[in-house]
């Protein structure tokens, strides 16, 4: 069994399925012994992080090259008749996101340490399976496999919101579920259509991403398929006006759920655009690209304004996510190398800073049982360390130079300007002002002011452990961003090169396999 062989060696398969394997002992665990389950989960996720870091370092150092290579696990045929196979591959685009995911997960456990009060066993299993889904979706190179992993994520997240959430958790969970499903079903259709068209053009079926890249479709068909994909991704991102599930989901989700949602799940949308949405459909009309850019801009400004007048801390951060991811989509669709690098970095940045903010909200909620601004204030006095982290993360999120958010925004907007979207850049930059507006309001309402409540304990050690690594990374990315950007650059360049080669190829009227040189290495 090839699969078992892969599982027992350091491979992408191991990274993806290690959490699932780790969920098996949990099935028979005594659910009353919550403490042991927590420790078990912490150890498992830390091991997962170390494993992925080890593997990534291994791959990075393998040939002594300067950039992160495209490395694939051996293919395992699955449904050979339809060219469906088990294909995992990692490259510079997915690498940071993989590391982000595995890095966030132990922190999620720490953040849930005392905020999740029931069913730890089920919670742990949900998180573990969710991790498998996320990692699999980031690594899948077969579109059917991608779709499967994509849907695998849905159920655990639904459970996390629906079981451990706040008062309106059922509403939020159902909204999340239906929204996502409404997006992913058109994507499934588009995927199947792509495979079918490939079989027409090449004579055999394939859902292999790299093979599909060699097929060119008529522009009209590309447009429809792009819409199918884009709908799924845009809902996940979320792009205005498909964002309304996000505030509800965030507000109702437990701390850990919010962190995962913001830090990782939303990135799947933008990742999907980078990996599939853009390169597969180069001949999508300019107007559609423009529309997405405009929607991103609307998202940036609109969400920032809406965030500004929120009464609930978590909702404010949720809307800020919409604004931040607007920057990412802006970067992706301005199609320059700089803006892509920036978008990729910004995905990580947003994961770190918004993740930290959600953790902090959770910590505040645990102490005061409220997230409403009206009932908070003056936290700097009883909780100076928490206040420090809150200010720090808010500043990172507001794009203060020297911290991570700034680098991403700078690269995205510079790229957008160079890409010729000058006015868009200016409007996007207004979003930077507004970011300061709402984040400072949040600080003013929570951290500053007179404190009148009872004595509260400042951060516990496990809370410090959760926040500290995030803060260090935020600072490091802000100070030496090139270290974090360089590994991905080659992959981004290649993807954009393939995109432009495909774009410059004459338009076709029926599916055609074009002689495109997708690097031998890449294959």
């Amino acid at each position: 069994m090839k699969f078992l062989e892969l599982l027992t060696n350091p491979s992408l398969t191991l990274i993806v399925f290690f959490p699932t394997l780790a969920a098996i002992p949990l099935l028979v665990a005594n659910k009353r012994n919550e403490k042991r389950i927590k420790w078990y989960l912490l150890v498992v996720f830390t091991a997962e992080f170390l494993l992925s870091a080890y593997l990534v370092t291994l791959l990075y150092l393998k040939d002594g090259i300067k950039y992160f290579p495209l490395v694939a696990d051996p293919t395992i045929p699955w449904l050979p008749r339809y060219g469906i196979a088990y294909r995992l591959a990692i490259d510079g685009i997915s690498m940071p996101l993989i590391l982000l995911t595995t890095f966030i997960m132990p922190i999620v456990i720490l953040g849930s340490w005392s905020s999740i009060k029931k069913h730890w066993k089920l919670y742990g299993i949900s998180l573990l399976i969710l991790t498998t889904g996320i990692l699999g979706a980031f690594l899948a190179y077969d579109l059917i496999l991608f779709y499967i992993f994509w849907e695998v994520m849905l159920v655990p997240m639904y459970l996390i919101i629906g079981v451990w959430g706040g008062e309106r958790r059922i509403y939020a969970a159902v909204k999340f579920f239906l929204y996502t499903l409404a997006g992913s079903l058109p994507m499934l259709l588009a995927i199947l259509w792509l495979g079918w068209r490939f079989s027409k053009a090449a004579g055999y079926w394939s859902f292999h991403y790299l093979e599909l890249l060699t097929m060119l479709l008529p522009p009209q068909e590309q447009l429809w398929l792009f819409i199918g994909f884009a709908l799924a991704f845009a809902i996940k991102v979320p792009l205005f006006p498909l964002h309304t599930w996000l505030p509800d989901a965030h507000v109702e989700a437990p701390t850990g759920g919010s962190v995962i949602l913001a830090a990782v799940l939303l990135k799947l949308g933008t990742y999907g655009f980078m990996r599939f949405g853009v390169p597969l459909f180069p001949h999508v009309k300019e107007e559609v690209i423009d529309l997405i850019l405009v929607l991103s801009l609307i998202g940036i400004i609109y969400a920032a304004l809406v965030a500004w007048v929120q009464e609930d801390m978590k909702k404010l951060i949720a809307y800020s996510s919409v604004a931040h991811l607007g920057f990412v989509t802006l970067g992706i669709f301005s199609m320059t190398e700089i803006s892509w690098s920036g978008a990729l970095l910004q995905m990580v940045n947003h994961g770190l800073s918004t993740g930290a903010l959600f953790l902090l909200v959770g910590m505040i909620y645990e102490r005061f049982h409220t997230k409403k601004f009206k009932e908070l204030g003056g936290l700097a006095q009883p909780l100076p360390l928490l206040a420090f982290f809150l200010v720090f993360s808010a500043m990172a999120s507001a794009g203060l130079p020297g911290l991570n958010g700034f680098v991403g925004e700078l690269m995205i907007l510079t790229g957008t300007y160079i890409g010729g979207y000058k006015i868009y850049t200016v409007i996007g930059a207004i979003g930077v002002i507004l970011a300061a507006l709402y984040l400072l309001r949040m600080l003013k309402e929570t951290v500053w002011g007179e404190y009148t409540g009872a004595v509260k304990k400042d951060l516990h050690s496990y809370e410090k452990m959760a926040l500290f690594p995030l803060a260090v990374l935020m600072l490091l990315i802000g100070i030496i961003p090139s270290v974090f950007i360089k590994p991905s650059q080659e992959s981004i360049l290649q993807t954009l090169k393939i995109y432009s080669v495909r774009k410059n190829y004459p338009k076709v009227t029926k599916p055609l396999i074009i002689p495109i040189d997708i690097d031998k290495e890449k294959k």
Binding site: P401, A429, I480, I485
Partner: protein, 638 residues
């Protein structure tokens, strides 16, 4: 030039150490760290500057620390030492150190002692980054960094209502300026593929076509950059229309007002203009704009200052006004003079703020000059140094302010007579409001409470020493600038490599002219002094007489600060907030979510129609089942 690294990094180190120490309770360690790092920075800076300026012909020195980003967006963290940054370096480290020293006395009783010094050290580091950066990005990091520190320090007394609000206002208004800075960065990178000042300016200087072609909105590329950088400067340096944050910023501790909101940070805009003076010299329209805005700011702020009661507010408006002077100098093309005024202003304004801090310290937090008076006997050191500062800012020879202000007015005279006269009137107003404040504070009867009177005391030496040092500076630094009637101009000589002179301007007047101009400005200052003396020798009732002289509506207008804050609230903040609320309540919740709920409702309706079959009775379900089987059989069979 590794010493530059040490200069910048020492304060950062101090910030980190103090930040950690702030969680423990050891004031001695905090004091030591704060003074050692900034002192170390000062010593190294002085040595470096001395070595650098005593070279025969100092060439700009660049030091690349590391590459921040690599291709295709290549930006490096690098420092630049040239005469301009050397002068700024001196101002920042020198004033900075003494204000740190002063703060150890001023803040000694505060519970946030460690936190305060962490912020202040961080500020020093960021300010040094700002002035030493060799490219737009490093400057921008410092630029926003000092904004952050300003935010944190204004909101230092976070338990009160006002500071958090003021700090937020400061940050957001600054961000509006930073927005323009960011755009300038994008444009520079898009067109020059670099952010290094030297390379950008070279590229512009050598490309005639770039200077002549219209880029956008009728502006050439250099003009556009100049405009954007000027907008950025109006934010940071509190010029019209973005000056509103600075008066509110006085909610922070007084040494902070001295360091950040008088001597260093707010002058960053002037520094930026001078650093990129080529852009401005290439775009006369923008220079004209700078002139108009600066002179309006100077006049407006000065006029507001004459009706204020809060000692720090008066000083704040005075700062805005003086910054206006600096920009005025830049606007008329006299960048050297602009920096010179920055230099002298740093001394006397820091001195005045520290003096006011000493007063506030003695009065136990009282800031209203109506409730002061007669402090002369109780605070002798403060009194004398404050007097020196007041004379300096009013422009009495031979104190520092005289030299710089006179030079500005002289250049303005060449440029435009009308603007010169406004400047002159502003100078008179400056003298007036400063002496008004001075007299109300130090002369006359004591108007505070009995308890305050009992506690009146001169400040400790850690506070008076900086006062004296700055007073000496305020008295004498003027002589390094251009001395009237001579061609002796050390400052100009030092700075001349930095200033690009596109065309030689007639800067020398004949002696008669010079005498006339000096007389005029001295007379203006004297008039202000006399008017203040006459009106206010009987104490605060002078305000009533002032009111009767300049008519009540005008006085209300000045007292209400031209109601600019109210105007902004009415025109910008409220509509924006309303829009946001509409977007949230109406668009988000009603339209978008409503559409969804409508769709969901339709589905629910359909399902409700079908749900009558689910009776819960098992038998019914079996019946459906059997019927289903029968239909299936019927279909397959027949």
């Amino acid at each position: 030039m590794t010493s530059l690294i040490a200069i910048v990094l020492l304060p950062f180190l101090g910030a980190v150490v103090n930040g950690i120490l702030s969680f423990s309770n050891s004031k001695r360690a905090v004091t030591f760290t704060a003074l050692a790092t900034t002192g170390g920075s000062l010593v190294i800076a002085l040595y470096t500057i001395w070595r650098y300026l005593t070279e025969l012909s100092p060439q700009p020195i660049e030091y690349v620390l590391y590459k921040w980003l690599e291709k295709p967006l290549e930006i490096q963290i690098s420092f630049l030492l040239d005469p301009l940054s050397a002068i700024m370096l001196f101002v920042v480290t020198f004033v900075g150190f003494f204000i740190h020293l002063y703060s150890t006395g001023y803040m000694s009783d505060d519970e946030g002692y460690g936190r305060y010094f962490a912020y202040l050290n961080l500020f020093m580091g960021m300010m040094l980054l700002l002035i030493l950066g060799s490219n737009l990005l490093v400057t921008f990091i410092g630029w926003e960094g000092v904004g952050l520190c300003s935010y944190l320090l204004i909101g230092f007394y976070y338990k009160q209502d006002e500071p958090p609000r003021a700090s937020m206002k400061a940050f957001v208004v600054n961000r509006i300026g930073d927005f323009a800075f960011l755009i300038a960065i994008f444009i520079s990178f898009a067109h020059f593929a670099t952010l290094e000042y030297r390379e950008i300016l070279n590229a512009i200087a050598t490309n005639q076509q770039l200077q002549d072609t219209v880029y956008i909105f009728g502006l050439t590329l250099p003009a556009l950059l100049a405009l954007l950088l000027f907008i950025a400067a109006t934010g940071k340096s509190a010029q019209l229309p973005l000056y509103v944050w600075l008066p509110d910023a006085m909610a922070g501790p007084t040494p902070v007002s001295a360091l950040i909101h008088a001597a260093t940070m707010v002058t960053a805009g002037v520094y930026l203009l001078t650093r990129t003076n080529l852009l401005f010299q290439l775009s006369p329209n923008i220079l004209k704009l700078v002139t108009l805005i600066s002179v309006a700011t100077a006049f407006m702020a000065a006029s507001i200052a004459i009706a204020q009661r809060d000692i720090k507010k008066v000083l704040a408006y005075s700062t805005v006004s003086q910054l206006g002077y600096m920009f005025l100098a830049a606007g008329v093309g006299a960048f050297v003079v602009s920096i010179f005024h920055l230099f002298t202003h740093a001394f006397f304004k820091a001195l005045l703020f520290l003096g006011s801090g000493s007063v506030i310290h003695a009065m136990e937090g009282e800031q209203d000059i109506y409730k002061m008076g007669g402090l002369k006997q109780h605070l002798p050191h403060t009194y004398i140094t404050f007097l020196i500062g007041t004379l300096a800012i009013a422009g009495f020879p031979p104190l520092a302010g005289f030299f710089s202000k006179d030079a500005i007015l002289a250049y303005t005279y060449d440029h435009s007579k009308a603007i010169y006269f406004i400047g002159l009137i502003t100078a008179g107003l400056t003298s007036f409001y400063m002496f008004r404040m001075f007299i109300l504070t130090f002369h006359g009867e004591f108007r505070g409470t009995e308890e305050q009177r009992k506690h009146l005391h001169e400040s400790p030496p850690s506070m008076t020493l900086p006062l004296w040092i700055l007073a000496i500076g305020s008295a004498f630094v003027g002589f390094i600038g251009k001395i009237p009637f001579t061609h002796y101009d050390l400052f100009g000589k030092i700075l001349s490599p930095v200033i690009v002179k596109l065309e030689e301007k007639a800067v020398h007047h004949d002696v008669l002219h010079e005498v006339l101009l000096i007389t005029l400005s001295v007379v203006a200052a004297l008039l202000g002094l006399v008017a203040a003396k006459v009106l206010y020798s009987q104490g605060p009732t002078g305000d009533e007489r002032l009111k009767s002289i300049i008519t009540a509506p005008l006085y209300t207008l000045l007292k209400g600060k031209y109601f600019v804050d109210e105007l902004y609230t009415f025109v910008i903040v409220t509509p924006l907030r309303t829009t946001a609320n509409i977007l949230w309540r109406f668009v988000d919740q009603l339209i978008i979510d409503g559409t969804l709920h409508l769709a969901a409702g339709i589905v629910q309706l359909i399902s409700a129609l079908g749900s009558f079959t689910t009776t819960g009775n098992l038998r019914n379900y079996m019946l459906y089942f059997v019927i289903g089987i029968i239909l299936l059989i019927a279909y397959t069979v027949g």
